[in-house]
């Protein structure tokens, strides 16, 4: 069984995100980038399925310029077998990404696509769902447990107020939630081996997809800075301020 894991290069979660002076976008110059944490969980799950003898091959795909090969190599160091970079100059929107991934799925014919539920840069939470719809395949989002049984897969989902378990016919699309697993660290020998694993570069043309961005970024603004607090003398004053200044009650 083959598993496809799409991964995204995003700003590292440790980095304080800064808005460009002209508010046109987030400043990415010389900022540390990393694999989206939910994608890392997806890679880990796929590798565990391979180690358990359920999957035979784990293919990683990423969309972006050459720099995203770094994240593909990270996934290869964690245990994936080969990588595909889909070369684009800019980050496509979710629908274009889903269309590109659909083309990869049609070429690779994986039984399962496991991917992050959302990326921490745009927080859209839609590429997985769109991909499933375009492929007309069953989907299970926010997975906290994945069990493969023959040509079916049981997925426990984190939903409001509890857990829901679904059974899907494969091929299917699964998106990962935070508690699915704790990703491993890449070891030095595996990082070295990852450098020699195959990595194909494809263009949207190769895949027969026209990337058209339907979304225009108008401006990005940082959250308002928190004002210094004050000490109130009495409960009456507190109530008065809550009522008239904060207009909270």
């Amino acid at each position: 069984m083959k598993i496809l894991v799409p991964v995204k290069r995003v700003i590292d979660y440790n980095v304080k995100v800064r808005v460009k002076a002209d508010n046109s976008d987030v400043d990415l110059a010389n900022v540390k980038m990393a694999m989206n944490p939910f994608c890392e969980i997806a890679v880990e799950e796929a590798v565990r399925l391979k180690e358990a003898g359920v999957a035979t091959e784990v293919v990683v795909a990423s969309i972006g310029d050459k720099a995203c090969q770094e994240q593909i190599r990270t996934a290869l160091a964690l245990g994936a077998d080969r990588g595909i970079q889909i070369e684009t100059d800019t980050a496509p929107d979710a629908l274009s990404a889903a269309k590109l991934l659909k083309a990869v799925v049609l070429e690779e014919q994986p039984q399962l696509v496991i991917m992050g539920k959302q990326s921490i840069d745009s927080d859209n939470n839609q590429t997985g769902q769109m991909l499933a719809a375009l492929l007309d395949q069953p989907q299970a989002t926010f997975a906290s447990e994945v069990k493969v049984d023959g040509d079916k897969v049981q997925v426990t989902r984190e939903i409001d107020g509890g857990l829901q378990t679904l059974e899907l016919d494969m091929p299917a699309v699964i998106t990962t939630d935070l508690r699915l697993n704790e990703p491993r660290y890449a070891s030095l020998p595996n990082i070295m081996k990852a450098k020699r694993k195959p990595l194909d570069v494809k263009t949207p043309d190769d895949l027969g997809v026209v990337v058209s961005n339907n979304i225009t970024l108008i401006s990005v603004n940082p959250p308002a800075e928190r004002q210094a607090g004050i000490k109130v003398e009495s409960v009456t004053e507190l109530v008065e301020k809550l009522k008239n200044e904060a207009k909270a009650i």
Binding site: R18, V31, K32, E182, R184, S187, P189
Partner: protein
């Protein structure tokens, strides 16, 4: 799980200017000679450049030699220095510009024969690491060298990387992954100032025997976006402008006149300036706080004219090895070399260390390559004390430079800014002084008791030009995995409260620029010494300045520490 081992010809600890230059030069020679050579660089930062912090005005002399076509290859040195201004600040309002002809030659950054660049050394290292990888070097970021592996004959045989996934008590977590042994014929230690392995090597092989005590400074730096201004505004952004200065506040009455140091403010490209203060760590008043000195410094009109209306982008701190020639330890030992700021090759008279660190690495690469390609098996199998390095170093321009500036730091330390500065002017511009000034008193031993010193009070930060520590550390993007062993070790855990508190009011609370050390009091009035190791920006000041030499900095879990963008 057992520790695995891998063998290399050369293992390099630290992806800074020295380590990466060694790696590049080694591979250049191997590729030219058509021989196979395995070189690996380990770096504790989450990526190359994440832990690099420097001014910096860079003299490209070593880079010109290493990559003559660096410009075409896109090395990030874009802003040539166009003007030097040096100030002596008299008080919080007044400061005078020192006429150019009175400035020691080493402090000139442009003009005939000089071409220096304002740049981010972090970005330079990122570029050098790319070059190294293209040449065939394995660069592993996020893997700290936690300990040294010694061979049977007492030689350095390699290093061990740290274990990942240990909890606070040292128990294995689910994600536990043992570190690896990286064995090498020769190991390069280029950890930067006060490397924890370098410190161990200096003690073990007595590399500092017969040398003056090493001296350090603490550099605190911020990166600012400053507003685009009108053409006729004299204070507008001027790419290439370099400001240096001394005097207020460190050497002023407000700070008990107890300290020395100097500030810098460089105008980079893209409407950015870097501003910083270097505080010499030989200060004696335990009330002194380098962080607060820097914050108040920014209110001086000479600096504030550029910062007003701007926005702080990044913050960081790093200790500097500045003892220079007289304190430079022996750099070779069996199986290993100690390079760059880990040894102390910074030229304090120029306030520059990148070019000398790089050159120390290039000479090391040439010495090691010659030894490994020697026909006799004896020297090609590694593990030897490459004393040829000392000779090669002596014949290079680094030695010449460092020897020429040997009196600069000691003169300032001993005679102060005015007399020392005058001596330096004579030494550098008129006639080389025929004697050497020594300063043999270690920095940590300088601290006086609280009872002997005047208290220093600092103004509250205004949140516009000056800031508090927590909001500053926040901008350094520092992070350490929460549940792990504390990487700041106390040899004797009772010293902070039993000795340092009564005598010095535990100075770690003030010299640490990241707020790692706190003395807390609970409801019963019981005092407690707290180490917030998660805040640590890896500057190493505590390891240097603790009067009892009771704090040892060791490597935390890989990838921990600051994530400096372009510092």
């Amino acid at each position: 799980m057992q520790r695995e081992a891998m063998e290399f010809d050369v293992v390099i600890v630290g992806a800074g200017p020295a380590g990466l230059s060694t790696a590049c030069r080694l591979m250049q020679q191997a590729n030219e000679a058509g021989t196979e050579l395995t070189v690996c660089v380990v770096e504790k930062g989450s990526e190359v450049g994440a832990h690099i912090l420097s001014g910096a005005v860079i003299e490209p002399r070593a880079l010109n030699e290493l990559f003559p076509d660096w410009k075409e290859q896109g090395a990030p040195l874009n802003t040539e220095v166009t003007e030097d201004q040096i100030f002596l600040l008299k008080n919080d309002q007044k400061g005078s510009k020192i006429p150019n002809f009175l400035v020691p030659k080493t402090m000139h950054n442009h003009g005939a024969g000089y071409k220096n660049y304002i740049a981010s050394v972090g970005n330079l290292c990122r570029w050098l690491a790319d070059q190294a990888e293209q040449l065939g070097v394995e660069v592993f970021a996020g893997f700290p060298a936690s300990h040294i592996i010694y061979g049977d004959e007492g030689q350095v045989a390699g290093i061990g990387t740290g274990d990942m996934g240990l909890d606070e008590q040292g128990n294995q977590k689910d994600s536990y992954m043992p570190g690896m042994d990286l064995l090498a014929k020769y190991t390069i230690f280029s950890e930067g100032c006060r490397g924890h392995l370098g410190k161990e090597l200096i003690a073990r092989y007595q590399l500092d025997a017969g040398k003056d005590a090493q001296h350090y400074g603490l550099g605190i730096k911020e990166l600012w976006d400053i507003p685009v201004r009108e053409e006729d505004d004299p204070a507008k952004h001027q790419p290439g402008l370099v400001l240096h200065g001394a005097g207020w506040p460190l050497a002023s009455k407000e700070s008990d006149g107890s300290a020395s140091g100097g500030f810098f403010l460089y105008h980079l490209e893209d409407n950015q300036v870097v501003v910083g203060l270097i505080t010499d760590l030989n200060y004696d008043n335990p009330h002194l706080s380098p962080f607060d000195e820097f914050q108040r410094l920014k209110h001086h009109p000479v600096l504030a004219q550029y910062l007003k209306g701007g926005k702080r982008v990044s913050y960081g701190a790093r200790a500097i090895t500045k003892g220079g020639f007289n304190a430079l330890p022996k750099m070779t030992m069996p199986g290993a070399l100690l390079l760059g700021c880990d040894a102390g090759t910074l030229n304090f008279a120029k306030i520059k260390g990148t070019h000398t660190a790089m050159k120390s690495g290039m000479i090391a690469a040439e010495t090691i390559f010659a030894a490994l390609s020697a026909s006799d098996q004896e020297s090609s199998e590694g593990g030897k004390d490459l004393t040829a390095y000392t000779e090669n170093f002596k014949n290079s321009w680094v030695y010449e430079e460092l020897y020429r500036s040997r009196n600069f730091g000691p003169a300032l330390h001993k005679y102060g800014t005015m007399v020392g500065g005058a001596l330096n002017f004579i030494d550098q511009n008129i006639v080389s002084l025929p004697f050497t000034i020594h300063d043999n008193y270690p920095d940590y031993a300088q601290m006086k008791a609280v009872s002997e010193c005047a208290p220093i009070s600092y103004p509250k930060p205004d949140g516009v030009l000056s800031f508090d520590k927590p909001s500053s550390v926040f901008l350094s993007n520092t992070n350490h995995e929460e549940n792990q062993l504390c990487h700041l070790k106390l040899t004797n855990s009772s010293i902070p409260l039993a000795q340092n508190l009564p005598k010095f009011n535990e100075p770690a609370q003030r010299y640490c620029p990241a707020g790692v050390y706190e003395v807390l009091e609970d409801e019963q009035g019981e005092k407690q010494f707290q180490i917030n190791s998660q805040n640590c920006v890896h500057c190493k000041t505590c390891d240097i300045k603790d009067p009892a030499q009771n704090i040892t900095w060791v490597t935390p879990e890989g990838g921990g520490g600051p994530n400096y963008p372009n510092m």
